[in-house]
């Protein structure tokens, strides 16, 4: 293990934990569900894991697993409750849910350690575990974005009614994203509190919504890869910005604003459009090449041209 790894362990861990948290918001967003409940699940996971390790000396993996399970169940129940909500109304309801959990943590007395929170959650969870979990999650999500399942989610987001008419169980998909989001958020929270050995109400607050959302939008909202790009950037950016000293916050703001304004589909979108352009080059734009020839004939013999062009495509004509 080299020194780079050792001295940047925290950032490495944070990158993957942030990624999981960001994904817990990105997954519902991809299905058109504005749910920030993932942040609430983060709190559930963080506290469950900490309480179980501190009070009951449960192994770290089990403690995190318990949090994940609990948050998934809570996610499902929440999905049933908020079924009628949409858009930012749903956003507000789920933010309420997350804030509620924060207040519960602050007022939880001995169980949650009140405003101080809990400390001393020592476990055997390591950076490698976090990376392994994150990689598995990324692979699964990447698969879910491709092919039939990916299209299904796209349809649920863009036009639920159309999706229904195409045989997609929209309600089922919506519930599923709540469950997945809960599990992801709780996983992030659980790992974070065990790696830091502490959790407090301050660390599970509203600011997580902002961070996660920023990562997703700047990275690219429609894919796990966007969240990954965002997580890497926003975890490492602050340490890079130390060079600008006291104005680091200002520069940070400028960068976020610039990216949000001028990179419409996130950095991932930028990469993808670039890639598409490259692929298309030569294949499209028949206007200049192919059609230039016909324009000559058109000038000579408009009648023939007209007859040939009655339909949209030559071969489709009867």
């Amino acid at each position: 293990m080299n020194t780079w790894w050792l001295s940047n362990q925290i950032l490495i861990q944070s990158t993957f934990i942030s990624l999981l948290l960001a994904l817990s918001i990105q997954v519902p967003l991809r299905a058109g569900v504005f749910s920030f409940a993932g942040v609430g699940s983060y709190a559930i996971g963080a506290y469950t894991a900490a309480i179980l390790t501190i009070r009951y000396q449960v192994p770290g993996i089990v403690a995190i697993g318990a949090g994940v399970l609990l948050a998934a169940v809570v996610g499902y129940l929440l999905a049933l409750l908020v079924a009628r909500l949409a858009g930012l109304y749903l956003g507000m309801a789920t933010i309420s849910f997350a804030l509620l959990l924060g207040v519960l943590a602050t007022n939880g007395g001995d169980l949650t350690g009140g405003a101080t929170g809990l400390y001393g959650a020592i476990s055997t969870v390591t950076t490698e575990h976090v990376i392994a979990v994150a990689v598995v999650v990324m692979v699964l999500l990447a698969a879910s974005e491709r092919g039939a399942f990916g299209r299904k989610v796209d349809a649920v987001r863009e036009d639920p009614q159309l999706a229904v008419s195409l045989g997609v169980n929209v309600i089922g998909v919506r519930r599923m994203v709540f469950v997945v989001s809960g599990a992801l958020g709780a996983c992030a929270g659980g790992m974070n509190s065990l790696l830091r050995t502490t959790v407090s109400p301050e660390t599970v607050g509203f600011h997580l919504v902002v961070t996660a959302l920023t990562m997703i939008i700047i990275g690219g909202a429609l894919s796990w890869a966007g969240a990954a790009i965002g997580a890497v950037i926003f975890t490492w950016l602050p340490s890079l910005l130390h060079t600008v000293g006291e104005w680091q916050l200002l520069v940070y703001g400028l960068l976020v604003a610039f990216a949000a304004v001028y990179v419409p589909n996130g950095l991932l979108g930028l990469l993808q459009t670039g890639w598409r352009r490259l692929q298309r080059r030569g294949r499209r734009i028949p206007a200049e090449g192919a059609a230039a020839g016909t324009s000559v004939t058109a000038a000579q013999d408009p009648e023939q041209e007209l007859a040939a062009l009655g339909g949209p495509t030559g071969e489709a004509r009867p």
């Binding site: 796209d154 036009d159 159309l162 999706a163 008419s165 195409l166 009655g310 949209p312 071969e315």
Partner: protein, 268 residues
């Protein structure tokens, strides 16, 4: 004026049995009676056309049949069984496909993806996974693309299509699911005459292959040429029903729907 009345030739195996039926279906919005007591039967291997003035409730009826619009009253039957409580998404799995009156393509998916969406419900687990590895396209999709002639635009995004082409993509999507019953809401709006004829040809060919269809259109000539039966509606109510030639000659239909021009044409 040539009318291709090749109904006799269309006798598909089980033609004539009722697939889909509505009994006294009504959809009311407050005081607006969009659909008000429609009885309708859709027979296998036949094309039923619905016509009626604007706002007569055709699209709403289609919505009611596909369970996207809640019924105020009445029953809807598929193969003789009431499906008024089945979740709407289940209908597609039972072989009902439809298009909408407005273009509804997913903006972020290229045309090919949009068409594949129609076929997705037919895929089994194995093909789903196979698609992840190598991007294979099911045969029903290639066939639908071929039949609607949208092969040139497969990698364009819907926003880059002209209106008429977008409508074709919608038909392709509906066909890609290899449905048992196809419902089309003004499929040729925005197309010119030759293009319409082409679509009409396609529909007839599909019918001859045994596809049951419900067609809503304002192009009366096309309706007469294509449909086996016509149902005329006005203000949510049933006005006339029967063979196309009879329906368009019905005075009530002429009065409410067809107007002077068609009368002139029919008189000739």
């Amino acid at each position: 004026m040539t009318t291709t009345q090749d109904r006799g030739a269309s006798a598909a195996p089980a033609a004539g049995t009722t697939v889909l039926e509505t009994v006294d279906v009504a959809v009311h919005y407050g005081g607006i009676k969009a659909v008000d007591g429609i009885d309708m039967k859709l027979e296998t291997g036949r094309i039923l056309g619905i016509l009626g003035p604007n706002g007569s409730g055709k699209s709403t009826l289609l919505g009611a049949i596909t369970r996207l619009v809640p019924l105020t009253r009445g029953r809807v039957l598929l193969d003789g069984e009431d499906y008024g409580r089945t979740p709407p998404s289940k209908l597609a799995h039972r072989g009902i496909a439809r298009t909408f009156q407005t273009v509804r393509l997913l903006p972020d998916l290229p045309v090919l993806g949009n068409i594949q969406l129609g076929a997705d419900l037919r895929l089994n687990r194995a093909t789903r996974w196979r698609e992840l590895v190598r991007r294979s396209v099911p045969e029903s999709v290639t066939e639908a693309i071929e039949r609607t002639g949208v092969g040139d635009v497969l990698d364009l995004l819907p926003g880059e299509l002209s209106y008429g082409t977008a409508r074709r993509v919608e038909i392709a999507r509906a066909l890609a699911s290899r449905p048992r019953v196809l419902m089309l809401d003004e499929p040729t709006a925005g197309m010119n005459q030759p293009e319409r004829l082409e679509v009409a040809d396609l529909l007839r060919k599909l019918r001859d292959e045994g596809l049951t269809q419900l067609l809503v259109e304002h192009d009366v000539q096309m309706m007469v040429d294509t449909c086996d039966r016509l149902l005329a509606m006005n203000q949510g109510k049933h006005v006339a029903e029967g063979a196309p030639a009879d329906v368009v000659r019905d005075p009530a239909v002429q009065e409410a729907y067809l107007g002077k021009r068609w009368n002139r044409a029919a008189d000739q």
